[in-house]
């Protein structure tokens, strides 16, 4: 064949693996910045912590172009419908990071108006601890998502929330 030159190096791999490799190194986050965690998320994107080193420098405020939703902040019941709508607008495959204590469990807002963990209405892949988490902690969360993609796991399947939670009083 004309195209194959015998002296050029090549590798053999599976199509799924090369797709996963491409996906994990080009995650485009949808910044769902709802409260103070969003400040740390901006720092995570900024030059000091620089998430561009992990291939996810393109923060997309359009859900149609993104494949990783970082939910950063307190999600109230009123806001939960908006979060779900934006999640539904993102194309598959898509991953979700629940950033911070409020997003993962309701945090210190153990009250009637705050959803006690966003996994009650969307599937979550990685929970990032902290109030708010430091940017390097969020980078760890991003790398955890990358590992899940590299292992070929389907989004929203594996992780179960291990934090103790109260949903309603009796």
């Amino acid at each position: 064949m004309e195209l194959m030159k015998p002296d050029e190096p090549f590798i053999t791999t599976k199509l799924d693996d090369i797709m996963a490799w491409a996906r994990k190194n080009s995650l485009w986050p949808m910044p769902m910045g709802i409260s103070c965690c969003a400040i740390e998320m901006m720092s995570f994107a900024g030059p000091r912590y620089d998430c561009a080193r992990f291939g996810s420098e393109a923060f997309r405020f359009s859900p149609r172009q993104s494949d990783l939703m970082i939910v950063a902040g307190t999600v109230t019941y009123k806001m939960s419908h908006v979060v779900r709508k934006i999640y539904d607008q993102m194309p598959d495959p898509k991953w979700v990071i629940a950033m911070g204590a409020c997003t993962s469990t309701g945090g210190m807002y153990r009250t009637y108006s705050v959803v006690q963990g966003i996994d009650l209405f969307i599937p979550v892949d990685v929970y990032v601890a902290g109030c708010p988490p430091r940017p390097d902690n969020l980078i760890k969360g991003l790398m955890e998502v990358q590992n899940q993609i590299a292992r070929g796991e389907k989004p929203g399947q594996k992780v179960k929330n291990i934090y103790p939670r109260i949903r309603f009083c009796k």
């Binding site: 019941y77 939960s80 153990r110 009637y112 108006s113 209405f121 949903r167 309603f168």
Partner: protein, 160 residues
């Protein structure tokens, strides 16, 4: 300022004032519910007093079973640099209070908040809707008989 204010109110509205108290140079006057509009427009329009700024309106719950709720109007006179707290006691059987939106338009959102959180109904308010909670919500969350974690099923989540 305090003596002048109390003199003027005592001459014009002696029957409307239920009590007054002072704490750390801040005057609190409890007035009758029906006369709140009259007193408020007098306080704003009087050239000497000129309470031209309504700083806040809050609802509150008392421990008592009679006159359980109250509406607190925090007024400020920019000219005299003087603060005044006007309180109206509201009984649970009759939650209607006259609005002060025609005197200070800024009362609009604050009265909506008191309505949303305590269920105090402001008569003749131009747009009395809930401001924080969803419109179809049926309860008043800052009342003491409302459980902290809410009532199951009252706030719907999206489908998973």
């Amino acid at each position: 300022m305090k003596e002048k204010l109390l003199d003027k109110l005592n001459t014009s509205f002696k029957n409307s004032i239920e009590s007054f108290s002072e704490f750390r140079n801040e005057l609190t006057i409890i007035i009758k519910k029906a006369d709140i509009e009259k007193i408020c427009s007098f306080l704003r329009d009087d050239a000497e007093l000129s309470f031209d700024s309504l700083r806040d309106i809050c609802g509150a719950v008392n421990r008592a079973s009679v006159d359980r709720y109250e509406v607190v109007n925090n007024l400020y006179s920019l000219k005299n640099k003087y603060r005044l707290r006007l309180k109206v006691l509201v009984d649970a059987d009759d939650m209607n209070v006259p609005t002060v939106t025609r005197i200070w338009p800024t009362a609009d959102f604050e009265e909506r908040e008191a309505y949303d959180m305590y269920g105090i109904v402001f008569d003749n308010h131009p747009d009395l809707r809930r401001i924080y909670m969803p419109e179809e919500f049926e309860y008043y969350p800052l009342r003491k008989d409302f459980p902290l974690m809410g009532i199951p099923g009252s706030l719907p989540l999206p489908r998973k």
